[in-house]
């Protein structure tokens, strides 16, 4: 049994809450007492059906103030897979919420209201999915019951979205006609759509191949923590604890420590105190090196045969997440996994319109939810890959040193 993390993107009336509620309900993840609470709150009990959308109802603070606090996480599992849903609200502060929820997702469900077809929101969700390189896209064409399960409507939306996907370079796209409210094509194939030969949603989510999502070719590892017990029996023990971000490490591998540029070999690999011959992403391990090298948190240990880039001047795509606008020329802290360096953003080239993907000139400051192309200079070199090629080693955040807030998502080019 493995794990699939996905995000659902939809605007308020696309039926996102109903869809999530339906998945939780039909996978029997909603327990009797939770159901009772929902039944109590369901306002219209006349038709005897419970309001599935209430399953994802938020906090009191949200209801009182009419706001939505970014991402909520939902869990369900079937005998085949465990699922983690990042449930990001569709309206306020959209980009920020979606990036937060999407950053760990390997699949996105883009909801389309069959009556509306591909709309501006759909494009925006899809652009963010493509920016963040979410590998798998499911286009859930919802509310098919309201268009009489018309195959023509479905076909038209597939044609429209296919051109969006082509433009954005989304390659793995699956279309499913459904009614979340009535359960069509969610767990079982619906008799209302005999023309649809694909899998129902849940079966698709259970069976989609995920093996290719983790890069096992380019070995990347960053030191999180140096383990030095300095006890009598472990006097000379010095291990580098961290997570293998990608690739496979084996005992005896020739490695380079960066940014120091020192070559050595792996003398030992441990997982939870037990020695192993090899380890792979995303395992947490302790690496030992044949040579005594001064290494600290944030340094990279990579295979000499597959070196990443090392530079202190980088091209980036930056999404601003803070209410206070970006001050070019200000110093920020850049956190690249466990590596923390000072950085200055300069040369803001253009702003990306997240509705059209058009490049626009930047006038004035960079504000909340804006995505810009810029260059960044760091006080010490970063060891990185382009986000597009290896997202685990190509992503970073900016932190405002005075507020300590996380103010930007950074995609390294």
């Amino acid at each position: 049994m493995d794990l699939l993390r996905f995000i659902t993107a939809g605007s308020v009336d696309d039926g996102k809450s109903t869809l999530i509620g339906r998945l939780l309900y039909d996978s029997k993840s909603i327990l009797a007492d939770q159901l009772e609470a929902i039944e109590r709150s369901t306002k219209n009990k006349a038709n005897g059906e419970i309001d599935l959308a209430l399953l994802t109802d938020g906090l009191r603070a949200e209801r009182e103030q009419g706001i939505t606090i970014d991402v909520a996480y939902r869990y369900f599992s079937t005998p085949k897979r465990k699922f983690i849903i990042a449930d990001a609200p569709g309206h306020v502060q959209y980009t920020r919420n979606m990036i937060t929820g999407a950053s760990n997702a390997s699949l996105i469900i883009v909801l389309i209201d069959a009556r509306q077809g591909v709309v501006e929101q759909t494009r925006r969700h899809s652009i963010i999915a493509s920016l963040l390189k979410i590998p798998h896209v499911v286009v859930a064409i919802n509310k098919m019951d309201l268009v009489d399960f018309s195959q023509d409507v479905y076909n038209k939306i597939v044609t429209d979205y296919t051109s969006v996907a082509q433009q954005l370079g989304l390659t793995d796209v699956t279309y499913i006609p459904m009614s979340a409210l009535q359960g069509d094509n969610i767990v079982d194939s619906s008799s209302n759509t005999p023309w649809y030969t694909g899998k129902p949603l849940l079966q698709f989510l259970e069976e989609i191949e995920l093996d290719q999502d983790i890069n096992l070719t380019d070995a990347r590892f960053q030191v999180q923590f140096v383990i030095r017990p300095q006890t009598e029996e472990l006097h000379d023990y010095r291990g580098y604890a961290g997570k293998i971000a990608s690739g496979i490490y084996r005992k005896g591998d020739a490695v380079t420590v960066l940014p120091q540029q020192l070559e050595t070999t792996i003398s030992k690999i441990e997982v939870a105190g037990v020695e192993v011959e090899e380890a792979f992403a995303p395992q947490g391990v302790v690496l030992h090196l044949a040579d005594d090298i001064d290494i600290s948190r944030g340094d990279a240990i990579v295979k000499t045969a597959q070196l990443p880039k090392t530079s202190n001047e980088l091209e980036i795509l930056l999404c601003w997440l803070d209410d206070k606008p970006l001050q070019t020329g200000n110093k920020y802290l850049l956190q690249h996994n466990s590596r923390l360096v000072r950085a200055v953003v300069r040369n803001i080239e253009y702003k990306l319109d997240v509705n059209t993907l058009q490049q626009q000139p930047v006038e004035g400051s960079v504000k909340l939810n804006e995505v810009v192309k810029a260059t960044i200079k760091t006080a010490a070199p970063l060891v990185y890959d382009s986000f597009d090629q290896l997202h685990t080693n190509g992503s970073a955040i900016l932190v405002d040193e005075t507020s300590n807030s996380t103010v930007a998502a950074v995609l390294l080019k």
């Binding site: 007492d33 906090l59 009191r60 606090i69 983790i214 383990i227 472990l234 395992q283 466990s338 300590n404």
Partner: protein, 302 residues
């Protein structure tokens, strides 16, 4: 599946170990909040694995309400010795006296809410900058929205509207003096994941998690252990039943479930089959208001 692919429990474990190492590296004085319950027991196991063969890097901190199950306390003491961690116990009783607080009243008067006072005092006393807790997002809807690194202000308060974006696996633990971070390494685990992990790792548990005979008061369908901490009226129905606990909290606010499960396999099978949520079945304190947890968290609760 390729041989280079982790199963779901191994993926969850890897994520949690990564979080633990970030805490150890980013903070000066982190502590692990330990109650002797299955979630904090899972945390200890993960921390052992994250730092092996090094020293266990956090003290275990227990906020003792005085209403604990003796079995959980014995386990707590044993576990601290077992991993070689410093054990810090601070008692709610002492806070009540020192601060002249009012004891809650009622049939099942719970000191649960008062723990917050003791917790905040303890954080201040030891200058803890990070407190690791075993809360899970599947438990409750306030928890579902909380970050893995949850920054609290100097009153320990959670502000759901001011949370930092938490992107990829990058954790920003920077804080101002006086603030602290609550860290929840098993945020993405469900109750069943925890049980499956305990089973896979063969982690010993306090005996109350398994079937045993106990005198219980039957109150609105819930089974509450007979103890000196609750008020028993003449009309109360008291029976001796075979029970186990699904969650371990205070004797005053945790209900038992009828069960004959004696082994982890049997317990896991029962959890899989259950149709009632962990909190719904066992926590008396969450029923007060629908937003009980949200309110407590905003007030500085775990």
């Amino acid at each position: 599946m390729s041989q280079y692919r982790l199963n779901y429990l191994e993926q969850l474990e890897a994520e949690s170990i990564h979080i633990f190492r970030e805490v150890a590296a980013q903070f000066e004085r982190p502590a692990l909040l330990f109650s002797g319950g299955k979630d904090s027991i899972t945390l200890v196991q993960l921390a052992k694995k994250a730092f092996a063969p090094g020293k266990f890097p956090f003290p275990l901190v227990h906020i003792d309400t005085g209403h604990n199950f003796p079995e959980a306390l014995a386990y707590r003491d044993w576990m601290a010795k077992e991993v070689g961690a410093e054990l810090i116990v601070r008692k709610v009783e002492d806070t009540i006296k020192a601060k002249n607080l009012t004891e809650p009243k009622g049939k099942f008067a719970s000191r649960n809410w008062l723990q917050t006072y003791t917790l905040l005092d303890t954080i201040e006393e030891f200058k803890f900058d990070a407190c690791i807790g075993g809360a899970r997002r599947d438990e409750e809807k306030a928890r579902a929205k909380e970050r893995i690194f949850s920054v609290r202000n100097d009153f320990g308060e959670w502000d759901p509207k001011l949370q930092r974006p938490e992107l990829w696996n990058i954790y920003n633990g920077r804080i101002h003096k006086g603030e602290n971070v609550r860290v929840f390494p098993i945020s993405n685990w469900t109750e069943l994941d925890v049980w499956n992990y305990i089973k896979t790792e063969e982690i010993p548990l306090p005996s109350i998690y398994f079937s045993h005979e106990r005198e219980v008061l039957i109150h609105e369908g819930q089974l509450i252990a007979v103890s000196p901490f609750i008020t028993i009226d003449e009309t109360d129905v008291i029976e001796t039943k075979k029970v186990r606990y699904r969650t371990v909290g205070d004797m005053t606010c945790t209900a038992a479930v009828e069960s004959l499960a004696n082994t982890l396999d049997e317990v896991v099978d029962e959890i899989k089959a259950t149709r009632i949520s962990e909190r719904g079945e066992t926590r008396i304190d969450d029923k007060v208001t629908e937003a009980a947890m949200e309110d407590r968290k905003k007030g500085g609760y775990f």
